[in-house]
Structures are given as structure tokens and as C-alpha cells.
């Protein structure tokens, strides 16, 4: 996978396929980016398992917080990493060693570890690095255009609406 230029089909395929997301570094502070992303993913119908040792046992946005990947109730479809690049590489190796493999490992904006990505892809895991799932979902659904952001997509098809007035969805993630 070219880690500098993911195709829209690759990203939307991931966002359509994934149902459960483990978010490492989820913050309880409501102005932190990880809190924004957690709230947005919940609003789009994803099940999100926040991981934050400092908040373990508490709830963020009504979701039980776990101390580590080992404590999750199951294997998540996707692990979303809000940590620095070095820590993200260690997390990938920890996941590979555990044998409990997610379909996707996603590293947030500015987070990238190319060597770890090669190892994860060799194990059949799809990788996304230096991207934000909220921005990508908003971009591919067209919602981000409401903020004047260049979605870099063109379409002559009607956007897919989800339930609620100001909510759009991806093609395979229709109104619930």
C-alpha cells in the first residue's frame, strides 16, 4: 500500500466494513481531538471502545473505558491510535504478538510508523496512517463540504442521508 496516497475506495471500504473501533488515547477532555473523533464515530453508528489507563473503569460519552487492548470485550475491527509515532509502532508489534488481529490499524494525523506498517500488512492488516477517520468520513460523505473544505471528490449522484437532518452517510452505510 502506498502510505502517502490512499485511494478513496480504500478508505471508504474500511469505513464501511468496520463496525467496532478501539480508540487508544481516547480523552475525557471535551476539547481534545480524540474526544471529537470518538463523539463523531458514535454519531455515525460505530461501536467505540475507549482505551485510556488513566480513565479505566470510568465512562467517556457513555462508553466504558478500558485500560489496555487486553481488557477489551472482543477483537475490534479497527484500532485507532492517538499516540505519537514511536508509541504507535510499539502498539502494532504488541497487537501482532497477541495474535488477536484487527482488520485495520489506523494512526491519526501526524502519526506514522512505516516499518510497523510493513509488518502489519504482512500479517493481513490494512493500514492507514497520518489520517483522521472523522475527516475522512466527513470528506467521503460530503459533510465536510459544509465547512468549505475541499473534499477532492466529484459526484453526480445524490449523497446518502442517514437518520437526522444534518447527517450524511457513506454508500454502504445507509440510513438506519
Amino acid at each position: 500500500m502506498n502510505q502517502d496516497a490512499y485511494s478513496d475506495a480504500y478508505i471508504s471500504g474500511i469505513l464501511d466494513e468496520v463496525k467496532t473501533v478501539a480508540m487508544i488515547g481516547a480523552s475525557a477532555n471535551n476539547v481534545r481531538p480524540s474526544y471529537f473523533v470518538l463523539k463523531y464515530l458514535l454519531s455515525k453508528g460505530y461501536e467505540v471502545w475507549p482505551i485510556n489507563p488513566g480513565q479505566a473503569g470510568k465512562e467517556i460519552l457513555g462508553q466504558k473505558v478500558y485500560a489496555s487492548l487486553e481488557e477489551l470485550p472482543g477483537v475490534p475491527d479497527m484500532i485507532d491510535i492517538f499516540r505519537n509515532s514511536a508509541a504507535a509502532g510499539e502498539i502494532v508489534d504488541q497487537v501482532l504478538a497477541s495474535g488477536q488481529l484487527p482488520k485495520v490499524i489506523w494512526m491519526q494525523l501526524t502519526v506514522r510508523h512505516d516499518e510497523a506498517a510493513v509488518r502489519a500488512e504482512a500479517a493481513g492488516i490494512k493500514m492507514v496512517m497520518n489520517r483522521c477517520p472523522k475527516i475522512e468520513y466527513g470528506r467521503l460523505s460530503g459533510e465536510i463540504g459544509w465547512a468549505g473544505v475541499n473534499s477532492r471528490t466529484l459526484s453526480s449522484k445524490r449523497p446518502t442521508l442517514k437518520s437526522g437532518f444534518q447527517h450524511r452517510g457513506l454508500s454502504g452505510n445507509k440510513s438506519s
Binding site: K39, G142, G145, G148, V149, L154, Q166
Partner: protein
């Protein structure tokens, strides 16, 4: 579609404008509403806290205006854009986001006269300084930059003299000094020149001119190039520091490479208020669909008119970068090879009186203070826009008594030339 990068004409028609999700309307609907309902209290809180994408109030976002914003961002190759009520208000919001009292910008001294007024006078009352530099002498920019400088500001194609600025040379200086380069691209439009590809960090427009193109709607826009690191220096606290307006959000950290456009919207437009009307956004959007066709015809017509005038016995000189002998011709060939735009100046034999006679006798040209209309426009600055200045000041401003400015329209070029000929005769 996105795997292949669409061409400019395709973007001019389609970027930002999928069919309306509610009705399937193919043209972009005019959402002429002040406000938008919330799904519930939590949705409202998410919108006000910038946690969800969506519309609250047309002073902040509007779905019609958003199509215009995405369209221009795509045409300029930017990450995002913010439309405003006018080009002047785009400059106000841009510099409000960049500057604190006591800061300054270094600006080219060849700018639209309205911009010179705004920078020289109105901005002073905000405590924002301006230091002038000569775009023909890059070292004058370097000499003017100090530790309070927060941006360099130039026009790609300067109004009205037909001056093409060496964007890459100034961009290299801006990068070395750690300040963003802001380029007003009104006269060239992204069809002729895309400043972000040459190193600009922010692009501004008066959409009132060639982008709308029909002389019917005011508008402006700020395009975020997505290239500047707002957190590197600490000099841009609206982007790099926790914002009390939003409970401590750090905008650059939260919005990454489109944080500047978001900051101009949620801090500048929200609080200062110069929102464009959705109707004007619709009119300008419709104009942009034919931008490539219009700008090519404007430039082709202007070149023919300039060539004709350079051989006219009542014309002393013509300043138009598309003419091979023009001093800006090599820069024009580099930065805007498809054409040099519609606007240029020329000098008439007989000075002030001939200039006044010319604007009085034209029958096809309209005598008014605008550029970028389908119609051909003419003005004699010495008797109108620059009337209050002394002769010395007029000449220094490029508005000497013999100077006439025209904005060549889309009429048949033979009719345009015939009108100038009859008005110059006798």
C-alpha cells in the same frame, strides 16, 4: 472519479456541487435561510463546539455558500475556503486571523488602490502596521521584514498596471522568514495562475470581478493552501493556542491542514460578521461554471486591443504583460502563459483632457469603477478615483493625467476596438 485528478473545466462546473441530498435538485439550490434546526440538544452542542459538521446560522455557514467555497478551494488547489461579503472583508478576516496589535505585514506597493487604503488607514486603528515593498525588487521585501512581521501580501497580477509578480521568489523569502505568503489572485483568477502551486500559503479573491464575471454580485474568498505550520513559531496564537471562544480548543491541532480557513470562519466571520448572501453565492457559482471560457476570451480580446492601441497614433504607451516587448512579459510567460487577463492601462497623447474626452465619448465601454464584467469598462483615474491627489502623487500611484484603464469585455473584439477608435478620434 477522484483516482484521476479532474481537469480545471470539470472542477469549475462540478467541484462541491453534488445533487441536493433532500430533493435531487441538480443545480445548487439557494438556501435563503438565516438558520437551521438541530436534531436535538446534543446535536446542537456538537455543532456549537465544532465537534460535528453542520449548519447553525448563515453568518457562519450556509449550504449554498459552502458549494462556492469548496469550488474555489478546488480550483485554486487549496484545502478549504471561506467566502465573505466582499474582497475587502476577505482581507479583513485573513489579516485578523494572522495579526495581533503591534504586528505588521509587508505588502507590495503595487496593489489595488482600495487595498492600499484599507492597509494604510483602516488597519491602523486595529494596531496593525503595514510596510511597503517593491515587487520589482525582492530585496526590498527582505529589508522590510522584522520580528513583528506576520505575512507578506502581494497581487499575482497587480491592478491596474499589468504587473506580474515573481511569486516563487517571494514565496522562497517568506518560507525562509517563517511567515505565510498571501496572494490576491483577483485579476488572474485560478484559470490563468494558481499561486499555491508556486508557493503561496493563502489566496484571496474579490469574487465580484472575474470569478462571478457578470458585474452583478459582490463577494470575496479566502483559500487555505494548507501548507503553513501555524504552530512552529508561536506567532499565530489564534491557531496555535487554546481558544477561550471554544472552551480551549487548539484549532491547528484539531483541524490540521485546513485550520486557517476554519479559524477565519469560527473566530473571524462568526464575530466580525461579513457573511456573503446565499443569493450572491449562487450568482457567483453560476459565473464560475464558465470561468475557463470567459477568462480565455477576456485575455484574447485584451491582447488584440492592446496590440491595436500600441500602434495607435493617439496612444503613447501600453502596459500589458502579454505584449512581447512588455517588461513583465517573461514573468507572464512563466506564471500565466494562457493569457495576461483583461485589464491594462495605456497613456493618451494630450494627457488629462484627452483622457476625459475618451471616457466621455465611448458608447460601448461603460465609464465606471469596476473590472471583470462581461461588458467592457473604462476609467480615467486622474479625473475620478485619484482626483484628490496632486499630479506628483497621481504619477507615483500609476494614475498620471494621461493614464486610462480598461477592462476588456466579451463583446466582439472588432466592436471594442471600433469604439475606442471613434472615441480617440477628433
Amino acid at each position: 472519479m477522484s483516482e484521476n485528478i479532474p481537469g480545471f473545466s470539470t472542477l469549475a462546473i462540478h467541484a462541491g456541487a453534488a445533487p441536493d441530498p433532500s430533493t435531487g435538485a441538480r443545480a445548487t439550490p439557494i438556501y435563503q435561510t438565516t438558520s437551521f434546526v438541530f436534531d436535538d440538544v446534543d446535536h446542537a452542542a456538537s455543532l456549537f463546539g465544532l465537534q460535528a459538521f453542520g449548519n447553525i446560522y448563515t453568518r457562519i455557514t450556509n449550504p449554498t455558500t459552502a458549494v462556492l467555497e469548496e469550488r474555489v478551494a478546488a480550483l485554486e488547489g487549496g484545502t478549504a475556503a471561506l467566502a465573505t461579503a466582499s474582497g475587502h472583508s476577505a482581507q479583513l478576516l485573513c489579516f485578523h486571523t494572522l495579526m495581533q496589535p503591534g504586528d505588521n505585514i509587508v505588502a507590495a506597493n503595487k496593489l489595488y488602490g482600495g487595498s492600499i487604503n484599507q492597509l494604510n488607514h483602516s488597519f491602523k486603528s486595529f494596531g496593525w502596521g503595514v510596510k511597503w515593498a517593491d515587487p520589482a525588487d525582492i530585496s526590498s521585501f527582505e529589508a522590510a521584514i522584522d520580528d513583528k512581521t506576520r505575512a507578506i501580501f502581494i497581487e499575482s497580477l497587480a491592478n491596474p498596471g499589468g504587473i506580474v509578480v515573481d511569486i516563487e521568489a517571494i514565496a522562497a523569502l517568506a518560507k525562509a522568514k517563517g511567515v505565510p505568503l498571501v496572494v490576491d489572485n483577483t485579476m488572474a483568477t485560478p484559470y490563468l495562475c494558481r499561486p499555491i502551486e508556486h508557493g503561496a500559503d493563502i489566496v484571496l479573491h474579490s469574487l465580484t470581478k472575474f470569478m462571478g464575471g457578470h458585474g452583478n454580485s459582490m463577494g470575496g474568498i479566502i483559500v487555505d493552501g494548507g501548507s503553513f505550520d501555524w504552530s512552529a513559531s508561536g506567532n499565530y496564537p489564534l491557531l496555535s493556542e487554546p481558544r477561550p471562544e471554544y472552551q480551549g480548543i487548539v484549532l491547528h491541532e484539531t483541524f490540521g491542514n485546513f485550520a486557517f480557513a476554519i479559524a477565519c470562519r469560527v473566530l473571524g466571520l462568526r464575530d466580525l460578521g461579513p457573511a456573503i448572501s446565499p443569493f450572491n453565492a449562487f450568482m457567483i457559482l453560476t459565473g464560475i461554471e464558465t470561468l475557463p471560457l470567459r477568462m480565455q476570451r477576456h485575455s484574447d480580446n485584451a491582447k488584440k486591443v492592446a496590440l491595436h492601441l500600441s500602434g495607435h497614433d493617439k496612444v503613447k504607451w501600453v502596459s500589458y504583460a502579454a505584449l512581447p516587448e512588455d517588461k513583465h512579459h517573461s514573468l507572464q510567460q512563466k506564471y500565466m502563459p494562457k493569457g495576461a487577463g483583461a485589464v491594462f492601462t495605456f497613456g493618451v497623447e494630450g494627457g488629462y483632457d484627452t483622457g476625459v474626452a475618451l471616457v466621455s465619448k465611448v458608447e460601448l465601454f461603460s465609464h465606471l469603477a469596476n473590472i471583470g464584467d462581461t461588458r467592457s469598462l473604462i476609467i480615467h483615474p486622474a479625473s475620478t478615483t485619484h482626483r484628490q491627489l496632486t499630479d506628483e502623487q497621481k504619477t507615483a500611484a500609476g494614475a498620471g493625467p494621461d493614464v486610462v484603464r480598461i477592462s476588456v469585455g466579451l463583446e466582439d473584439v472588432d466592436d471594442i476596438i471600433a469604439d475606442l477608435d471613434q472615441a480617440l478620434s477628433g
